[in-house]
């Protein structure tokens, strides 16, 4: 099993959700996060004073899936979240040791 973590532009969340649904991914966890990469932060103005905000709002999508499905999940997120402009975000993939469905006690990929 693998965990796919994608940090994307907030307005792309619906597209990503739909793309993952199209390849029959049946669950995901979404959180509002802040951070910066090469895009850096942005400026805001209050009563004529400039403030530089380092952190930009992004959305983090977490999907845990089987090893076989992982490349398709990454492709689907890439295709859906890409605008071609700086700040599109990143995808991280990491191994998952085990999983448990709390209701039934199923383990491993049965728990997905």
């Amino acid at each position: 099993m693998k965990k796919v973590e994608a940090i994307i532009k907030p307005f792309k969340l619906d597209d990503v959700k739909k793309a993952l649904g199209d390849i029959h991914i049946e669950g995901m966890t979404v959180s509002e996060v802040k951070g910066f990469g090469r895009q850096k932060g942005h400026s805001e103005f209050y009563r004529g004073a400039e403030y530089t905000l380092d952190f930009l709002p992004k959305v983090k999508v977490e999907v845990v899936t089987t090893d076989e499905l992982t490349p398709k999940v990454v492709e689907a997120i890439m295709a859906a979240a890409k605008t071609g402009k700086i700040g599109d975000g990143k995808i991280f993939i990491s191994p998952i040791e085990d999983g448990v469905r709390i209701r039934t006690g199923e383990r491993g990929s049965d728990a997905l």
Binding site: Y46, R47, G48, A49, E50, Y51
Partner: protein, 431 residues
């Protein structure tokens, strides 16, 4: 038959009308308007100013900021009844202070007093009370996010007693500024210059917030600020038009120029900021509204509509540069710009009254420089200088005294954690 009825009515009513003119009678329309205006001005402080300020602070200080305005309302309401009104509007001594004859509102009853012939003395007293309330509440913008609540209570009592009450007496209570002939229709000098200059002194004595200039200190909820700005604009009709102390043409004139100047200043602040920083901001619009309302306050019953547009346009631009350029240049932390908007806007309004006042608008006023009178502007400058100097020095003394006794600021650790939790054990937002 009809003619007979008319004759009968005339015969019956004429003597009534004649006798009514003889007695100094309370006018129901005037009384209703002043009482309603009093409630309008209360709304300016709580929740108007409270919300305006609370949106500008960080979320950890939203409640403590609101609490200062509501506490000002509660404290000054009692102070005014017990001795404040007497010091401001009691019998004059040397043009400087009112006597103690009206302490506890002795003799301030339902009959007209010496200041307004057609309304109850109590109505006049209440209307003035709300002015005293908002004045000390305005100062809280300069010391936001760092003053101990206990220190603020002491400050509200002392400042209203030693600064507001004498200044109100100088201008409106038969004191020397009013006698000199300087004009202040609704409190440009008494309310806005005094609170604005006191705010500057308070920012200097209290010192900057921890992390000022390095940490991000952004407004945490601008919609709250905009609700506050709307309530201030609404309440200001009571403040200015109510200062006519009657439901009459002068009130309508004051109402009209109040709205016009606020609108003009909202547009000019927004335009200047747009040119200077590239974007028109909502906070800029709201700040411009308040700057315009402040500036028109002394001039409201004395200037015409076109003058009020010019006055408002200048107010928005002048206050913008006070806040965006002067404050960073001098480096004081007037956190919510009480000096930049009320002090600077108040001074401009008092000067503008000396320029734009016209006896064609109000025969009881005077002609400003642009309408052929040179003397008024000089009197305005004397009034500005004297009230600003008095407010500045007395505020310094009061705050130093509080600092040496109970202390002005919260502990550093408490400031970082926020005043809501450390001063009041409450949070504005859960989760």
């Amino acid at each position: 038959m009809k003619t007979a009825i008319y004759v009968f009515l005339v015969l019956v009513l004429l003597p009534l009308g004649a006798s009514a003119e003889e007695a100094p009678a309370i006018d129901t329309g005037d009384t209703a308007w002043v009482l309603v205006s009093t409630a309008f001005v209360l709304l300016m402080t709580a929740p108007g100013l409270a919300l305006f300020y609370s949106g500008l602070v960080r979320r950890k200080n939203v409640l403590s900021t609101i609490m200062q305005s509501f506490a000002a309302l509660s404290i000054v309401s009692i102070q005014w009844v017990l001795w404040g009104y007497s010091l401001a509007f009691g019998p004059d001594s040397w043009g400087l202070i009112g006597g103690l004859e009206l302490i506890g509102l002795k003799g301030v009853g339902p009959e007209p007093g010496g200041y307004a012939a057609t309304i109850p003395h109590q109505a006049f007293m209440l209307f003035q009370m709300m002015f005293a309330v908002i004045t000390v509440a305005i100062i809280t913008g300069a010391i936001a996010e760092r003053m101990k609540f206990s220190a603020f209570i002491a400050f509200a009592v002392l400042w209203t007693t030693f600064v507001y009450d004498p200044l109100a007496h100088w201008v409106w209570g038969g004191g020397w500024i009013g006698k000199m002939g300087a004009l202040d229709f609704a409190g440009g000098t008494v309310v806005h210059i005094s609170s604005g200059v006191a705010a500057l002194a308070a920012a200097l004595v209290t010192g900057r917030r921890r992390g000022y200039g390095t940490d991000l200190m952004l407004p945490h909820n601008l919609p709250l600020t905009l609700i506050g700005a709307g309530l201030l604009w609404f309440g200001w009709f009571g403040f200015n038009a109510g200062s006519a102390l009657g439901a009459n043409g002068l009130a309508a004139t004051a109402f009209m120029v109040t709205n016009t100047a606020a609108a003009a200043a909202a547009l000019s602040w927004t335009a200047v900021e747009w040119l200077h920083r590239g974007k028109p901001t909502l906070l800029g619009l709201a700040s411009g509204i308040v700057a315009g309302l402040v500036a028109i306050t002394p001039a409201a019953g004395f200037v015409g509509p076109v003058s009020s547009i010019l006055l408002g346009l200048a107010a928005g631009a002048v206050c913008y540069f006070a806040v965006a350029w002067l404050k960073p240049l001098l480096g004081y932390d007037d956190s919510l710009d009480a000096f930049g908007i009320h002090g600077v806007g108040g001074v401009w309004g008092a000067v503008a009254t000396g320029l734009f006042a016209s006896t064609a608008v109000n025969a009881a006023g005077a002609d400003g420089l642009f309408f052929g009178g040179a003397g008024l502007l000089w009197k305005q400058l004397v009034a500005i200088g004297a009230s600003a100097a008095y407010a500045f020095v007395l505020t310094l003394i009061i705050l130093k005294a509080i600092d040496w006794t109970i202390g002005l600021r919260v502990a550093d650790e408490d400031e970082v954690q926020g005043l809501d939790i450390t001063q009041h054990s409450e949070s504005g937002y859960s989760l």
